[in-house]
Amino acid sequence: MQPLEARQLPPSPVPPDFLDACTTLTAAIQELVERFPDYECLTILHRDGSEDRTSLARFWQRAKSAQALLESNGLRPGDHAVLILPTGSDLVASYFGVMLAGGVPALTAGPSNRISDHALYVRFLGRVLGNAGARFVVSEGEVAKLLRDAGSDALAGAVVLTTDQITDLPVSEFPATFPASADEVATIQYSSGTTGDPKGVMLSHRAMLAYMRLLRDGVGFGPEDVNVNWLPLYHDMGLFGAFLMPLLCGFPAVLIPTMDFLRSPSLWLWAIHAYRGAAGWAPNFAYSLCAKRIEDDEIEGLDLSSWRIALSASEPVLAPTLEAFAERFAPYGYRAETMTPAWGMAETVMAVTAHPVGEKPVVDRVDRLKLVQEEIAEPTAGDGIDVVAVGRPLPGIELQIRDPETREALPDRHVGILWVRATCLFEGYKNDPERTAEVKIDGWFDTGDRAYLVGDDLYFVSREKDLVVIGGEKYAPHDVEAVINAVPGVREGCAVAFGVMNTDSGTEDLGAVAETKLEDPADLDALRRTIRKEVTRTLGLGVRHLHLVPPGGIEKTTSGKLARSATRDRYPEIFGGRDGS
């Protein structure tokens, strides 16, 4: 990565309170375009240092042209379209193009570069399309070809459109904008990775706008804050943090395609340097990656002193990562108080707690045994578990820690289930009223996360829902277990999978235990290889820790979750303690 020279972004002409009077996303964007057509609201930065800048007028032309393409292919108000596109102006235009036609855009990931079996991706996508009842997929390049080759049946009847079919229309031919209302669903987020049952989180215009206002005011973003991000837009932090909030609040934004960041992590830091970036968002693993995998000679002359807010959310925030990052980049002008741990879920739009900006992150050292056995976070001066405060509720957000059984509110420092009440809660899960009713109760949302409070500070302990989160992407252990169970030599139904925290990489590795009757070391070795190959082929994940055990080696309980944690606890020498120690 070559150093990036200083660059200027055009100052934003958008008044700081612009969002306050907006009622729908479509009306907001239309007003922005009418008032500030020449404002270059979006800059995409590529790995070779080149950038694309898009003015609001140009963005509007692409969005209107995308709308026309969708309408001419039969998209009607209320129809859903799933977008599978890399970060870029066509994704942004297609997203709004669907909305301008009265449709509902949903964003999801393309096939992982680790999954060699693309048929499985198509099957997953088919389930998403079926769940959304989507009539269209908008994609491009090889992904579009893969989907077209798969045929309409595999895509639940959805039609594949590509961005190269969007032909620029003159203003006189722009189709009329569908007048949306605030309570209609504006976006669906399919956020649970590429495994598990598709879970479409429906968000209304009202919730999304309410969220962006409370984020702007609660965290304290200002019009002079340049946002520099690389998160994919199908991720909630990418969609809202990197793209929609800066766009609709008129904050200058630089987006880096995710693959370009992964190839050269220092690109993100150089972009912050070059554009005098003030805000950036990432899951914990990315901070760990930057702290540990960037060489000195890549960042000679780097200046991070403009960085004011580094939000960390979407996976557990680890104390060693905060320390490593602060130490690594202090010589480059980075301040420890820039790091802003936060907590949120797609169901709350995004982060609804954040550590006060400008204050160093707080770490609570608690007694390990008390936490594990009694579910009480008792401070200790000696050896213990370091839990990072993931922030205080943003304005208008209420948090409660409740007993998992009785649902009674618990006092400070008692670990229980986190419930959230907010004006920005999701409407429900698409086509899944039962699942919605299980978690949305009397205006509150049962997050399933286990946490405790100390005053206003929230401390995250673990996920009740047993998901494995690797690099901010979520995976259902059940899917891994199903793959392992199908490998000949594994005792049917006798495999469990779970996440194992890796403090070095700052994210989880995949761990699994499987029973087998095989005993010969060569056979066991072969079985290990086959299991790993299958899991990679089908899910794109590597099984970092794989333990084969004789029959009886797995704890059997009626709950998959208990079986996983009990089995895991049986082999501490392999999987370590809960906090990755």
Partner: protein
């Protein structure tokens, strides 16, 4: 680039960046979980520089990069 030099360089990278030493030519890197997707992308970017070739995003997967032997074969094919 010589196959042996490349092999040595890849192994050195794995040791330096991931702390994994003594990786065999045919040992699975990706499917074993040794190299996660992020590290795989960085390994590919490193190889791009070493061998002075361009590796398109779509090739960075377990089909092309799962073992040191596969990496060497891939690079030789691209440089030919």
């Amino acid at each position: 680039m010589e196959a042996e030099t490349l092999e040595r360089e890849v192994c050195a990278w794995l040791e330096k960046k991931l702390g994994v030493s003594g990786v065999g030519r045919d040992e699975e890197l990706v499917s074993s979980g040794l190299v996660d997707s992020g590290n795989l992308v960085r390994l590919a970017t490193h190889i791009e520089r070493l061998a002075d070739i361009e590796i398109p995003d779509r090739d960075i997967d377990a089909d092309h990069f799962d073992t040191v032997a596969m990496i060497v074969a891939y690079v030789q094919e691209r440089s030919a």
